[in-house]
Amino acid sequence: MVGIEEKGIKYKDIVKKIGFPTIFIGGFWILILIAGGFLGISIATLISDTIKRAGMNGILVLAMVPSIQSGTGPNFALPVGIECGLFALVCAIEFGFTGWAWLFASIAFAIPLAVIVGYFYGKLLNAVKGSEMTIATYTGFSVVAFMCLPWLMIPFKNKNMGWFIGKGLRETIQLDAIKGAQKLNDFLRFSLFGENGFITFGGEKGIIIPTGMLLMFFLCCVIVWLYFRSKSGIAISAGGINPMFAKSSGIDIDKCRIKANILSTIMGAIGIIVYSQGYGYAQLYTAPLNMAFPAVAAILIGGATASRAKVSHVIIGVIIYQGLFTSALPVANILFEGTDLSETLRMIIQNGIILYALTQVKGGDK
């Protein structure tokens, strides 16, 4: 009897420590993988895709950490940062950069732009304390809508980006044309259990590890982690948990919130550049509209709450979320073979996970 009781307590502790949503979605993912195995889908491909997509989305999810820590909630206005990144990316193409130079130029252009935009976005959030999440969501939507104008009206000349007839930028810009596609992914890329046994550098079979992209993701993680161990980062966290406490210690909370949202916007901007090169295309116009929700869902599944988030939540969350998403689709396609449901299923799965994650939001005790 005693043994069982002890086990019961331990089991509860474990669930509490990891968080129920994480276990639930994680368990579901493993089930799907097993189902996929039985249906004859290559597990190696599923895992490769998962790693690739996790690497692509990682920095976008990381952008949630500063905003959550500062008390402004998950950054639903991620498109603000994304548009900064896209604008920088497009400018870098326009100035004729290609390959690695294009990638670094994009990031170099994106950061100052994101700092300025993030500053004003932070100011906006300070003006609407108490309803940050709603305002952020609509700020994101508005910015995307607004940016459709410059995409059309700024007279970019580079023919890699324009429509073949008429003015303005294309909806989807192929990065192959400027040798930008998979630049990071292919850096030190290797595969496990591929052609030559355990490790094959540059291999195409087995589990493919996009080393460069993962290194970039981890570098950003380390920067954010270090920042939240700094004086300034600790002030932001304290302001997020207990504004009165922070105030009584002489901290300017509004300034902290601005700092955090600048950081979040920068991460959004860098995130979309890394995402685009991994995807091989830069998507303009309405594409960034729905990029905030998967990122929010991922960090929540990773164990964050609306008021507390850690870098570990980002890593766990992005892997589980992207894992489930990339694995569920091929499995569902086989199960519903013959029907033309794949796009519908993709929507249902993605939005289902997001909805579930959002219902698990805790905290936000203001």
Partner: protein, 529 residues
């Protein structure tokens, strides 16, 4: 069988082992005005919660004893039951809807209705309002109170005094109201309004309604009440006929002698005749604790106590100086002008504050002891940090060794410096707050309610700690609702009443002096302040 309207017999109540009411017996006759007086925490609110069957009573295990109404035992399980028994309450804060008219407010949820075309099908809830009847009823209630305002006016924009009367009108409009409780009804009223209110109360009592009148204004009690019951620390001290007593006696009974924390007069006092903190005409907008112009000066090396009843502004003083609530006025610290409304400037100049709101402002409950202790010093003075790649990172090793030292010095009982503060006991949490303040190396420490919510043993430890810090040369301004603890360690005690300094007393002044000053009755006597 007696002619008692209400009798509380042997009522006791405990919250998780902590007795807050001990064997209270109160009897209320028809038409009697019964005053209830006591310091904060004496048990007045708990007693009223029992009378109104508030959920907080029943979710914490109910109470002992019997409540009888008109000689029959009453089982009041909810505020709704209380209403059915004819018990009404006039709240201290107005519970009125500003956009509604007086009639609508008074009749809310008790509207008089008449059937219409759809109501036979959809039920009583959809019947038409009988506005005429409702207005007439309201008129009657208002007339009872000699109120000559129109019942169809909206409540928004009415003077505060009128709102109070509307609250009362709502209660007396309820049919079968027998007992009416007034909870500090004059606290927010101007003098003339208060006078009107007292007249109305008298009038109601002549109609045979039994009235329980909670107030700390002794003059009012002497003026209006027939009987007075004094509560102190949950005990029923005495019930007296007002004719047989006077306000000095009531004041003395209210403050009384409590568990005496022995006062040992330190011979090693080193108060220097040098003003370290000088406050002139300080106004602080702290909700519920407004300060309306305080002048005070503190000498180097002394412990100044700030006392007074809740809501009078004693807590606002420290919060205002530290910039936590908006303040204006002139504060000089170490002969330099202190920038108000800027916590950072206050801390930098050598002030430190231990807040009365330990869990709200004082601590990051989900963080470790060491990060709590180091936080302020790190933010303000760049202590415990080192530079790394342009970022000022926290120096965990330095924080750890400092926390270990503090834990040892202040005797904080914990498993390790990494323990989460929220899991500590109240007394130890308080010590963490003090440790955080001390880490700033302040020259003057402001401590508010240092012993709130901690047990007696821990109280003594915290007070001893303050005394020890003082003997090492730190000037301390301690704010507390517990007079006994102020008297045990302070060199002089400043009593705050209605946002102003009512007077300054030595710790060994008689109880009655304290009682009178706290209830603001001193100045009406025309005596020296």
């Amino acid at each position: 069988m007696s002619d008692n309207l209400l009798s509380l017999k042997h009522v006791s109540k405990e919250y998780s082992g902590n007795k807050v009411l001990k064997d209270i017996n109160i009897e209320l006759k028809k038409g009697e005005i019964h005053a209830l007086i006591g310091e904060n925490g004496a048990g007045k609110s708990t007693l009223m919660n029992i009378l109104f069957g508030m959920p907080v009573i029943h979710t914490t295990g109910g109470f002992e004893g019997v409540v009888e109404i008109e000689g029959h035992e009453a089982n009041i399980r909810s505020p709704h039951d209380a209403m059915d028994y004819g018990i009404g309450m006039v709240h201290q804060e107005f519970m009125l809807i500003p956009g509604f008219t007086i009639t609508e407010n008074i009749k809310l949820n008790r509207e008089i209705t008449k059937p219409n075309l759809v109501s036979p099908v959809f039920g009583k809830r959809l019947e038409t309002l009988n506005v005429k009847q409702m207005n007439e009823d309201t008129r009657k209630a208002l007339d009872t109170l000699d109120m000559n305002i129109d019942e169809f006016l909206p409540v928004a924009g009415l003077p505060v005094g009128h709102m109070q009367f509307i609250e009362i009108a709502r209660e007396i409009d309820k049919t079968g109201i027998k007992i009416l409780v007034f909870d500090e009804p004059t606290a927010v009223l101007a003098e003339s309004e208060a006078k009107n209110l007292l007249n109305a109360i008298r009038k109601l009592s002549r109609k045979g309604i039994g009235i329980i009148f909670i107030s700390h204004r002794l003059d009012e009690i002497i003026d209006v009440a027939d009987t007075v019951t004094v509560l102190r620390d949950g005990e029923h001290v005495v019930t007296k006929n007002v004719k047989d007593t006077n306000k000095y006696e009531i004041a003395q009974l209210m403050v009384g002698r409590k568990i005496n924390i022995e006062r040992v007069d330190g011979s090693n006092k080193n108060i220097v005749d040098e003003t370290i903190l000088n406050i002139e005409d300080l106004v602080v907008e702290m909700p519920g604790e407004r300060v309306k112009g305080i002048d005070l000066s503190v000498k180097k090396g002394e412990i100044v106590g700030i006392g007074g009843l809740a809501g009078q502004g004693k807590l606002g003083l420290a919060n205002g100086i530290m910039g936590i609530f908006p303040a204006k006025g002139k504060v000089e610290f170490e002969s330099k002008k202190l920038t108000l409304n800027d916590p950072k400037a206050a801390i930098k100049s050598g002030l430190a504050f231990v807040s009365e709101d330990r869990k709200g402002i004082g601590l990051l409950l989900e963080e470790s002891i060491e990060s709590n202790i180091a936080f302020s010093a790190m933010q303000i003075n760049n202590d415990f940090t080192n530079n790394f790649a342009g970022m000022r990172l926290k120096d965990s090793a330095k924080i750890r060794s400092h926390a270990v030292k503090m834990i040892k010095d202040l005797d904080i009982r914990c498993t390790s410096p990494m323990q989460i503060v929220g899991s500590l006991s109240g007394g130890n949490q308080q010590k963490v707050c003090v440790a955080r303040a001390l880490t700033l190396n302040p020259t003057l420490l402001l401590v508010s309610e240092p012993t709130r919510g901690i047990d007696i043993g821990a109280k003594k430890l915290v007070l001893d700690l303050l005394k020890q810090l003082n003997s090492e040369g730190m000037t301390i301004v301690m704010t507390s609702s517990e007079l006994a603890e102020l008297r045990s360690i302070c060199d002089r005690i400043v009593i705050i009443c209605e946002g102003k300094v009512e007077g300054v007393l030595p710790p060994d002044a008689p109880d009655a002096e304290f009682g009178l000053m706290m209830s603001g009755s001193k100045h009406t006597e025309g005596s020296e302040v």
